[in-house]
């Protein structure tokens, strides 16, 4: 333990603690910009400078470890003046058109400016004669260099959490900026659209591309029937943007709010998550049989999940030779889209041309996924607009809805019934758990041998997890699996996905089935989730997801009555020709940059 004094208060903290963290233990807040709990120390922005007794200059508290007997002042005149100058310098290179900015009221620089910079600015506004690039090429997000303060949170996110580095620091001095490879449009580089950078950007330099106005237009258009689906991770995070603490489940209020916004039908992505399990589980078992029993060389093992559009784009860029290992199943969002304008429109006697399909996602990559040319199996654009959790919160505020006082209500039907297996798609390991709950039962006729169906070995926040499920007492048609050990792996965050993909690519990993989610924590830590997101917040959202699962009457995808019905009425059987047409897809090799 190290003892130091901060503003005359004594702190005892572990060796290696930063001054910033030590101050926090005393309840002393030091402002930060480039610092982020998920990322390595950078010391770029200097906003967190403090005065250290005996030091020649002010030190960055985020990058200074404590030492015995250290004396720190966080709020001296010298510190306040320096901080004011630092904030003013950042503002001199930041196009501060706050009232027009998407991040207005939700901007860390604005908050600092509010404390440190009012009245006349000290420095010249350098933005006026600088020709900044605004990149709107991606359907998922906008990169506006005029708002960038070069704190490099995005660069560290893309490198450290995602192993992508689609963006890096380029040029120097006053020309320094954050660039893609040779300043190519973001739509034409290795970027996965995961939005983790968007979630961490302290200003409006990286924001999701919003479709709020288009959705309002569709709602107000009386000729249109607007259906909305909500992803599992939205219900455990939306509350954070509406005044609730992290980890609060707001499912019932969410449904009511969507109805009040004017959506004609409020449906659930969890329904197609259940459907995904039937399709993907069948695909896995079929692959195992064909490869292991029949010696089919055209099919690849291990099979990777395909629900995460960030992961899909990652593998298309980085490991194109492993595309045959991906499940051909579309993600639940896209399955829903394909069915909304076919099965659903038929059932409700609607002209699919008049159906507008909106999805609420914890994700920015889903916006990109919806725009992929393959995603038009219904004959129309299967998903018209994707909104993030954050955008939905904006719409709820715009509509003047007092969220807290809303009554709870249930999803509409059809395509609104779901099981706990669908809900847990929102957490890392959830797809694996849902798939095992069903696949094990298909093969053995018995439920998975875990208490309350909770397959604990696949849960948790460890970046890469492995589990082995022994299969015993198989039904006759599956007796080739008798005594077999099904080896599975789970990774979340593309840096971890890369570890598994690399091992598989080099033939060093012996798995049958691998779940990959592009974002840390899975969808609950998605790029479209409320800001801020941190390890503690992800943990709380995860607990909420599993609580939601326990709270459901049905816990296994194959028990979902609407899933049974859709096969009887429409899809015939899992992996049928019709299912392939609507619910499966193919992938595209992409450039390595």
């Amino acid at each position: 333990m190290v003892t130091l004094k901060i503003n005359e208060h004594e702190a005892k903290v572990a060796e290696g603690t930063t001054v910033l963290a030590a101050a926090k233990t005393l309840g002393i807040n030091i402002p930060t910009l480039c610092n982020h709990p998920d990322l390595c120390v950078a010391g770029n922005c200097r906003v967190c400078v403090v005065e250290q007794k005996g030091a020649r200059t002010l030190v960055a508290s985020c990058a200074t470890p404590v030492s015995e007997g250290m004396e720190i002042q966080t709020n001296s005149l010298k510190v306040r003046n320096a901080r004011k100058h630092i904030v003013e310098l950042l503002l001199s290179e930041h196009r501060a058109d706050c009232t027009k900015c998407y991040k207005n009221q939700n901007c860390e620089l604005q908050t600092l400016a509010n404390e440190y910079s009012f009245g006349e600015h000290i420095f010249l506004d350098l933005t006026e004669d600088h020709n900044y690039a605004i990149d709107r090429s991606s359907p998922a997000f906008i990169k506006d260099d005029s708002k960038c303060i070069r704190c490099q949170r995005c660069v560290r996110t893309c490198a450290q959490l995602q192993h992508v580095s689609a963006i890096a620091v380029s040029h120097k001095g006053s020309e320094m900026k954050i660039s893609s490879f040779h300043d190519r449009p973001m739509s034409h580089v290795v970027c996965t659209n995961c939005g983790q950078c968007v979630n961490r950007c302290p200003t409006g330099a990286l924001t999701e591309k919003t479709y709020i106005d288009q959705v309002w237009d569709a709602i107000y258009d009386t000729d249109k029937h607007v259906v909305v689906q909500t992803a599992p991770a939205v219900r455990v995070a939306l509350g954070e943007d509406l005044g609730y603490d992290p980890g609060e489940r707001v499912t019932g209020k969410l449904v009511t709010a969507l109805r009040q916004l004017g959506f004609n039908s409020v449906l659930d992505t969890d329904f197609t998550a259940d459907l995904t399990i039937i399709e993907e589980g069948t695909e896995l078992l079929t692959r195992l049989k064909k490869v292991l029993v029949e010696g089919d060389k055209t099919l690849a093992l291990p099979m990777f999940t395909s629900c995460s559009p960030g992961w899909i784009k990652f593998i298309e860029h980085k490991y194109p030779h492993m595309l045959p290992n991906l499940s051909t199943c579309k993600s639940p969002q896209q399955m829903f889209g394909a069915l909304a304008k076919t099965y659903y429109a038929d059932k409700r006697k609607l002209d699919p041309a008049n159906v507008v399909s909106v999805s609420i996602m914890p994700c920015t990559a889903k916006k990109y996924e919806a725009d992929r040319p393959e995603m038009r199996s219904s004959g129309y654009k299967d998903i018209d607009y994707v909104l993030t959790t954050r955008e939905l919160a904006v719409m709820i505020k715009q509509a003047g809805i007092d969220f807290r006082t809303l009554e709870e209500s249930h999803y509409d039907s059809v395509m609104g019934v779901s099981t706990g297996a669908g809900v847990i798609f929102g957490a890392t390991g959830g797809v694996m758990e849902a798939a095992l709950r069903t696949a094990y039962e298909i093969v053995t006729g018995r439920p998975v041998p875990f208490k309350n169906l909770n397959i604990m070995p696949v849960r948790g926040m460890e970046g890469v997890r492995e589990a082995t499920i022994k299969i015993e007492g198989t039904r006759e048609e599956w007796n080739f699996l008798e005594g077999a050990e099904l080896k599975v792996a789970i990774a979340h965050g593309l840096v971890n996905a890369n570890k598994i993909a690399k091992a598989v690519s080099q033939g060093k990993a012996q798995y049958h089935f691998i779940e990959i989610m592009a974002c840390p924590g899975g969808c609950l830590g998605g790029g479209g989730q409320p800001i801020p997101t941190s390890a503690e917040i992800r943990q709380k959202r995860m607990e909420a997801i599993y609580a939601e699962d326990m709270h459901m009457d049905l816990r296994k995808s194959h028990d979902n009555p609407e899933v049974t019905a859709i096969y009887q009425e429409f899809l015939e059987e899992p992996n049928s020709h019709k299912a392939h047409e609507l619910l499966h897809t193919h992938y595209t090799e992409r450039e390595s940059y």
Binding site: A168, S179, S180, F181, V190, S592
Partner: protein, 153 residues
Amino acid sequence: MYQTGNLVKDLAEKHGRRRESLMPILQDIVKKHNYLTDDVMVAVATELDISAAEVYGTASFYTFLDTEERGKNVIRVCKTITCSMKGKNDIIATIEDMLKIRVGETTPDKMFTLLETNCIGWCHKAPAILINDMPYTDLTPETVIDVIKGYMR
């Protein structure tokens, strides 16, 4: 444009494939070809298993690691204070007039590129220019013509 061929692989063998091998590899490519093409930067990224954006970021930081097409001979005119006071603008005007290009441009025959540079340490013999690796100092509009003529053969 030039073909990458085995160049990057050979340089990776020579300098290694660690992150710190990046600079010597880029320097050797520029020594040979004057500038970095997109293809060569992607090849370096692949060889070192880093992202192409990082390679570009590093290259763009250094003035002498060009990422735009350059002519066979790169003329860099010192733009810093002493050379400015000693007539660097006249030198540039003379070269522009002679080669029919402006600063930042390359002649259509790809023989010359004209650029400005920060101080190259010849203030005592200003104005100074650098052609490829060779400095020329104490220049006048008359003498610079002769210097450049020497590179036309």
